[in-house]
Amino acid sequence: MIEMQAIHKSFGPKQVLRGVDLTVNSGESMVIIGGSGTGKSVTIKCILGLIRPDSGRILLDGKDVEEEDRDAFLARFGMLFQGGALFDSLPVWQNVAFRLLRGSLKRPKAEAREIAIEKLRRVGLTPDVADQFPAELSGGMQKRVGLARAIAAEPQVIFFDEPTTGLDPIMAGVINDLIREIVVEMGATAMTITHDMSSVRAIADKVAMLHNGKIRWTGPVADMDTCGDPYVDQFINGRAEGPIEAVR
């Protein structure tokens, strides 16, 4: 279980998070929605320790993440980055097996390659992709490789940062289905940030809306359309008119 308690974060004079409180139960798929620049990515990066919050606590299974051993802590996570964030200098299979080729999870090279090819197959890519370089792949294929890398070491918690941004609707649907299948199959806890409503409906068990640095509403995805919150209503229906200013 991940618990965020009163997380604040500012960058210079700009207050991005103003007291985020959020709980994600184990095995649950939580999707955070919200407009651009509302602090969705910062929220995830705070959990991963990529950004240190100014105040507040983050607990993983009841333990403060600040006090945990960093390597052991990170070994429990996988993340799919918005642009894939694949390492250009490494072939696809070494990207996927990156964690398995070094550090505490190190395996023999042949075994790591085998696992990488198996994970690539799981995301719908053929083994011949393994020896190509990321720059040779299309955007959709790069996302799939990123997804394969995120699940390669069987993490307990997986983060997805805008998983469908920049993809055509069909490829976005394929990625959404893959994420849903993989999360269910692995029994992992998932946390996704997106403003693509088709992703929300495909992936989420629960939804949280972030607005103005705070969680505005949270609840099961089935209640989203009838929650009665004007901010959520405006966002999910994509209306220019409403309490959320169109120009931010």
Partner: protein
Amino acid sequence: MNSLAAPFAAIGRGTLDMLSLIGSIAIYAGQAISHMLRPPFYPREFLHQLGLIGWLSLPVVGLTALFTGGALALQIYAGGARFNAETVVPSIVAIGIVRELGPVLGGLMVAGRVAASIAAEIGTMKVTEQIDALTTLSTHPMKYLTVPRVLAAVVTLPILVAIGDAIGIMGGYLVGTLRLDFNAAAYMTNTIHFLEAGDVISGLVKASVFGFIVATMGCYHGMNAGKGAQGVGRATTAAVVSASILILASNYILTEVFFSA
């Protein structure tokens, strides 16, 4: 009153920014050294960087040394002729190349090539979230990216400069014998006779320090690149400029240390 104070405020702000930059570079360099001494190590990355930084810089450093050695021989001959001291050409060329021009010009050429490429590569990795990805994959960016590059530059620059020294002396020899009518055997004898081990060693120590500066500046500015293509461009320029200035400044300090007595 405000308009009178404005220039002083600007100078103060600039000074504070500069001090803050020097402080953060010093902390970064200290962290790099500290990570060099603690596992995990990435020998494969180190070997890869040895090739990129060392081997691929060889043509640049070699050509620079060759032409500098030749020009130096012409200058010293022309200057020496004013007081009938043309015979000092071989020894002054050798001492000048080995003590000063070899390490400094080699360092500056490598700064242009290597600091820029490191800053651009790491800066691009930063803006495309590859550095964050490394961290989430339990790999410390300082250990995986900075340490192998800094270590490779510290090791390869003295080797490059040693080869450059030999090529530079050869440049002087070619101009001396083919253009200035020096006797080939006498030229070589004079070169070797007047050159001391301390001249060579001081130059190689300088080269090692310059290697540290070049790679550290490339990594620091890459890691701190701003957003987008403009951020990477600025980081690349800043890496080359700061590495070049630091090479020249540290060269003066090292020369004081080695030769002021």
